[in-house]
C-alpha cells in the first residue's frame, strides 16, 4: 500500500484479514455451541421411539473420522510446502486434503442413507431431528471447505502459482479446515461416544 507510511495499520500486530477471520471463527463456536447444547438437552430426554444408538455403526464412523483428521495433516503439509514455495507439493497436498474431505462427506451421505432405511428419518422424533441438523450443519461446513480447497487448487494451476500473501489465501482456508476438524472431534465424542 502506497500510503502505508502515513496510514499505520494493525496496532494489534495481527494482519487485518486474519483478525477478521478469527472473529468469524469465534462466532462459529457459538453456532455449533447452540446446536450441541440443544442436542445434549434432548439426548437425555425420556421419549419413546427409535434412537441413534439403535442405528449407528461406530467402527464405520470412526474410520471416516480418522479420514477427516488425516486431512488436517495434509492441510499442514500443504501449508509447509507453500512456505518453502514448493508449488508442486502444495497442489498435491491441497488436492489430497480436498479428496479426504470428500471421502468423509461420502461416508456421511452413506451413513444418512442407511439411517433413513432403518426408519431414523429427519422428522421421526427429537433424537433424529437434532442428530441430522447438528451433523448436517457440520457436513455443510466440510462441503464449503472442500469447495474452497478445490478452488484454491484450481487457482494454483496458473503460471505464478500460489503465495501466502494474497487474497483469501491458503492460510485462511487452513484455519477454517482445522476448525471444522476440531468441531468434528467434539461432535464425534458428544454424538457417538458418550
Amino acid at each position: 500500500m502506497s500510503d502505508a507510511h502515513t496510514y499505520p495499520h494493525e496496532p494489534t500486530g495481527v494482519e487485518t484479514r486474519k483478525l477478521g477471520f478469527w472473529i468469524f471463527l469465534s462466532t462459529e463456536i457459538l453456532f455449533f455451541g447452540t446446536l450441541i447444547t440443544t442436542f445434549l438437552i434432548f439426548k437425555g430426554r425420556d421419549f419413546p421411539g427409535i434412537k441413534l444408538t439403535d442405528v449407528y455403526d461406530i467402527p464405520f464412523t470412526s474410520v471416516s473420522s480418522f479420514v477427516l483428521l488425516m486431512s488436517s495433516l495434509t492441510m499442514v503439509l500443504a501449508h509447509n510446502a507453500l512456505e518453502t514455495n514448493d508449488q508442486e507439493k502444495t497442489r498435491v497436498w491441497l488436492l489430497a486434503t480436498a479428496m479426504l474431505g470428500a471421502v468423509f462427506l461420502a461416508g456421511q451421505i452413506y451413513e444418512f442413507t442407511e439411517f433413513y432405511h432403518k426408519g431414523f428419518e429427519l422428522s421421526t422424533n427429537i433424537f433424529s431431528s437434532t442428530f441430522y441438523v447438528l451433523t448436517g450443519f457440520h457436513g455443510l461446513h466440510v462441503f464449503i471447505g472442500v469447495v474452497l480447497l478445490l478452488a484454491l487448487w484450481g487457482i494454483g494451476q496458473r503460471q505464478k502459482g500460489l503465495s501466502l500473501n494474497e487474497g483469501m489465501n491458503l492460510e485462511f482456508i487452513a484455519l477454517y479446515w482445522h476448525f471444522v476438524d476440531i468441531v468434528w472431534i467434539v461432535l464425534f465424542t458428544v454424538v457417538y461416544l458418550i
Binding site: S2, D3, T12, T27
Partner: protein
C-alpha cells in the same frame, strides 16, 4: 500537483467507476455513503413501524372498538415490534457506526469496505423480504379458532409476535406462510448484522491511527465495540433457533413441539439468550452518543471516562446472564428465578454508574441547551424512568403480576424510545453539520424536542397504571366495564403528538439539508477528532493520518489550562482551525480509496431468493439464489484488489475534490 489513483482495467472484472447517479450509490463502498443509506432506509422503516403503531392505537382508543380485526391487530403488533427493533433502531445505530467509527479513530475507511456494503445490502434485502409478506404471504388461524375469519391483506403478515413464542408461532397455530417470512427474514437480517460486527471489531482493533490507544478512543467508539461483540456472540444463537423454527415449519421436525419430544421452553431460552443482549445492542449506541453530546455542551470532560467504558462492557457481559427474567411466568425452577432475579438487579449497577457519570459531567458545567443537548438530557430522564421500572421486574413475585400487561409495554418503550431513540435524535442533530455541512434549524429542533417529550410521556406514562390496573398487552379489545377507556384515549392522543413531532423533524431535515446555514468548521467547539476535518466530510476523511496525543485530542489542540486548572483557549487556535480546514480539503499525498464494487449487492440479493425457495419448496428459485451468490462470490474473489492500482498523474481540481460526490 497531486496524484490520483486509477484502478487497473486489465483484470477479468473491472471495478465500477461511476461517481454520480444511482449506480455510484449502489456500488459504493465508502463508509460515509453506506452510513447515509443505512440512515435513510432505517428511517423509512421507522415511519412504517410508526404507522403500524398508530393503527394499533386507533384500535385501542375506545373500548370494544372494531377498527382492526383481531387478526389484523396481531399482524400489526408483530410487525411493529419486528420493524422497530430489526429494521429501524438497529440499522439507525449501524448508520452511526458506519459514518462515525472510522472518523473517530482516524481511519480512511472500515477494515473491509466491501463487506460493509454487503451488510447494508443484506439488510435491505432482508427488510424487503420480510415486508414482501404483505404481497405474497398468507396468515391463517387454527381451525375452529375464533380468529378464523376472513383474513385481509393487512393481516397477511407475521402474527406470532416479534418473540415468536412456540408452539403458537408453529405451523399448527400459525398456519400459512407469514411466520416463515418472519423466521427467514430475521435470519437474513441477522447475517447483515453479523457481517458488520466482524467488520467493526476488526476496524476498531486494527485501523486506529497513530497514538489512538484503546483508552483514548471516544466513548461512542467504545460502545460500538461492545455492541459488535454482543452482535457477534448473540446472533449465532438466534440464527440456530430460527433455523429450528424453519425446520419445524417446513420439514416436520419437532424441536419446539411436544408431540415429537421437543420443548417449547427451549425456544424461549434460545430466543431470550439472544433477546436480552439485543436490548443492549439497541441501547448502548445511544449511551455512546449522549456520552459525546453531554461533555461537548457542558464544556467539561466526560466525568469518569474509564468507569463509563468499563461499565459499558460490564453491561455487555452481564447482559448474557439475565435472559430468563423474560421467562418468570414460564416453567423454570424457583432457583433459576431467584438467580436471574439477582443478576437482573446486578446489571442495574453498571447502568447506574453510567447515569451518575453523565450527571457528574453536566454538574457545574456551562450548559448550552440546544436541540442535541435537550435530547441528551431527555434521554437521561426517560431512561432513568425506564431503568427503574426495569429493576422492578427483577422482583419475581411482582413480575409475575406485571407480565403481559401494559406495565411491561411502558417499561420497554421508556428504555427503547425514551432511551435509544432520544439518544439517536440527539446524535442526528449533533452530527448533522458534520454530515451535510449545513446547520439544522434550531427553532424547529426545539419544537421537535418538546412535542416529542410531551407526546412520549402522554403515550407511555399512562401505560404504567393501565398495566397495573390489569390491561393485558397483545389483545385487540378491552371491555367498557374495565374503565380503561379514558387513559387509553390519552395514550392514543400522545401517539398522534409523536407523529406530529416526527413530521416536524422531517420538515427540519429536508429544509436544513437544502437551505440551512452553512455550518462553520467546528460548530460545537467539540472534543473528538472527527471535528478536526472539514464539514461535510471529504471523501478521503483525513488528508493525512492524524496523530493522537490524548483523550479528547481535538479539545487539547484548542485548549490549555491556566494555573487554576481552567480551560483556556490557546493562542493561535483560530489559525490552527483555518490551517486544518485548508489541509483537510487539499491532501498533499496520494490518496487511494477502496474502489466501488458490484458484487456485494449481487450477493445480498441472492439471499431472499433462497428464502422464497425454502418457503415455496422451489428448485428454480433456489438456483437463482445460489447463482447470484456464486456470481457475487466469484466476482468478489477475482476483481482487482486495492493493492493492484497504478497511479496516474493528473491535475487536481481547484476545490481539492478529486471526485465530485455531491
Amino acid at each position: 500537483m497531486t496524484k490520483i489513483i486509477e484502478p487497473k482495467k486489465s483484470n477479468i472484472f473491472s471495478r465500477p467507476s461511476s461517481e454520480k447517479g444511482i449506480w455510484s450509490w449502489v456500488t459504493t463502498v465508502d463508509h460515509k455513503r453506506i452510513g447515509i443509506m443505512y440512515g435513510y432506509a432505517a428511517f423509512f422503516f421507522l415511519l412504517i413501524g410508526g404507522l403500524e403503531a398508530l393503527l394499533l392505537r386507533i384500535q385501542l382508543s375506545s373500548p370494544d372498538n372494531d377498527f382492526l380485526t383481531a387478526a389484523e391487530y396481531n399482524a400489526m403488533f408483530t410487525m411493529h415490534g419486528t420493524t422497530m427493533i430489526f429494521l429501524a433502531i438497529m440499522p439507525i445505530s449501524a448508520a452511526f457506526f458506519n459514518y462515525l467509527l472510522p472518523l473517530q479513530i482516524g481511519a480512511r475507511d472500515v477494515a473491509f469496505p466491501r463487506l460493509n456494503a454487503l451488510s447494508f445490502w443484506i439488510f435491505i434485502a432482508g427488510g424487503l423480504f420480510l415486508y414482501s409478506t404483505f404481497l405474497f404471504g398468507t396468515a391463517g388461524a387454527p381451525e375452529g379458532g375464533y380468529l378464523a375469519e376472513e383474513v385481509s391483506k393487512l393481516a397477511s403478515a407475521p402474527n406470532g409476535g416479534w418473540f415468536g413464542y412456540q408452539p403458537n408461532a408453529g405451523l399448527k397455530y400459525s398456519p400459512g406462510t407469514a411466520m416463515d417470512y418472519w423466521a427467514i427474514g430475521l435470519q437474513i437480517l441477522g447475517i447483515a448484522s453479523l457481517v458488520s460486527a466482524f467488520n467493526f471489531i476488526t476496524t476498531i482493533l486494527n485501523m486506529r491511527t497513530k497514538g489512538m490507544r484503546l483508552m483514548r478512543m471516544p466513548v461512542f467508539t467504545w460502545m460500538t465495540f461492545a455492541v459488535s461483540f454482543l452482535l457477534a456472540f448473540s446472533l449465532p444463537i438466534i440464527a440456530i433457533a430460527l433455523f429450528f423454527v424453519t425446520f419445524d415449519r417446513q420439514f416436520g421436525t419437532t424441536f419446539f413441539l411436544t408431540e415429537g419430544g421437543g420443548d417449547p421452553v427451549l425456544w424461549q431460552h434460545l430466543f431470550w439468550l439472544f433477546g436480552h443482549p439485543e436490548v443492549y445492542i439497541l441501547i448502548l449506541p445511544a449511551f455512546g452518543i449522549v456520552s459525546e453530546v453531554l461533555p461537548t455542551f457542558s464544556r467539561k470532560p466526560l466525568f469518569g471516562y474509564p468507569a463509563i467504558v468499563f461499565a459499558g462492557f460490564g453491561i455487555a457481559f452481564i447482559g448474557f446472564g439475565v435472559w430468563a427474567h423474560h421467562m418468570f411466568a414460564s416453567a423454570i425452577s424457583p432457583v433459576a428465578q431467584a438467580g436471574f432475579g439477582l443478576s437482573t438487579m446486578i446489571i442495574a449497577v453498571p447502568t447506574g454508574v453510567k447515569i451518575f457519570n453523565w450527571l457528574g459531567t453536566i454538574w457545574g458545567g456551562r450548559l448550552t441547551l440546544n436541540t442535541p443537548m435537550l435530547f441528551a438530557l431527555g434521554f437521561i430522564g426517560m431512561f432513568v424512568i425506564g431503568g427503574l421500572s426495569g429493576v422492578t421486574h427483577s422482583v419475581v413475585p411482582a413480575d409475575t403480576q406485571q407480565t403481559d400487561t401494559y406495565y411491561i409495554v411502558a417499561h420497554f418503550h421508556y428504555v427503547l424510545f425514551g432511551g435509544a431513540l432520544f439518544g439517536i435524535f440527539s446524535g442526528l442533530y449533533f452530527w448533522f453539520p458534520k454530515v451535510w455541512g449545513r446547520m439544522y434549524n434550531e427553532q424547529m429542533g426545539k419544537i421537535h424536542f418538546w412535542l416529542m417529550i410531551i407526546g412520549f410521556n402522554l403515550t407511555f406514562g399512562p401505560m404504567h397504571w393501565l398495566g397495573l390496573q390489569g390491561q393485558v398487552r397483545r389483545t385487540w379489545v378491552y371491555a367498557e366495564e374495565t374503565n380503561l377507556g379514558f387513559w387509553n384515549l390519552i395514550v392514543t392522543i400522545g401517539a398522534f403528538i409523536l407523529a406530529i413531532a416526527t413530521l416536524v423533524f422531517m420538515a427540519n431535515w429536508i429544509y436544513s439539508r437544502r437551505k440551512g446555514d452553512i455550518a462553520p468548521f467546528d460548530p460545537w467547539d467539540a472534543r473528538t477528532i472527527e471535528w478536526s476535518i472539514p464539514s461535510p466530510t471529504p471523501v478521503w476523511n483525513f488528508s493525512k493520518a492524524p496523530e493522537v496525543k490524548s483523550l479528547d485530542d481535538f479539545w487539547h489542540q484548542k485548549y490549555g489550562e491556566d494555573e487554576d486548572g481552567r480551560a483556556v483557549r490557546k493562542e493561535g487556535t483560530d489559525e490552527l482551525l483555518l490551517q486544518l480546514e485548508e489541509e483537510g480539503l487539499n491532501p498533499k499525498e496520494e490518496i487511494h480509496l477502496p474502489s466501488p464494487s458490484y458484487f456485494p449487492v449481487i450477493m445480498a440479493f441472492g439471499l431472499p431468493f433462497i428464502g422464497y425457495a425454502i418457503i415455496y419448496k422451489s428448485i428454480p428459485l433456489a438456483l437463482i439464489g445460489v447463482i447470484l451468490l456464486l456470481i457475487g462470490g466469484f466476482g468478489w474473489g477475482t476483481e482487482p484488489l486495492e493493492e493492484e492500482f497504478e497511479s496516474s498523474d493528473e491535475e487536481k481540481p481547484e476545490n481539492g475534490m478529486t471526485k465530485d460526490y455531491e
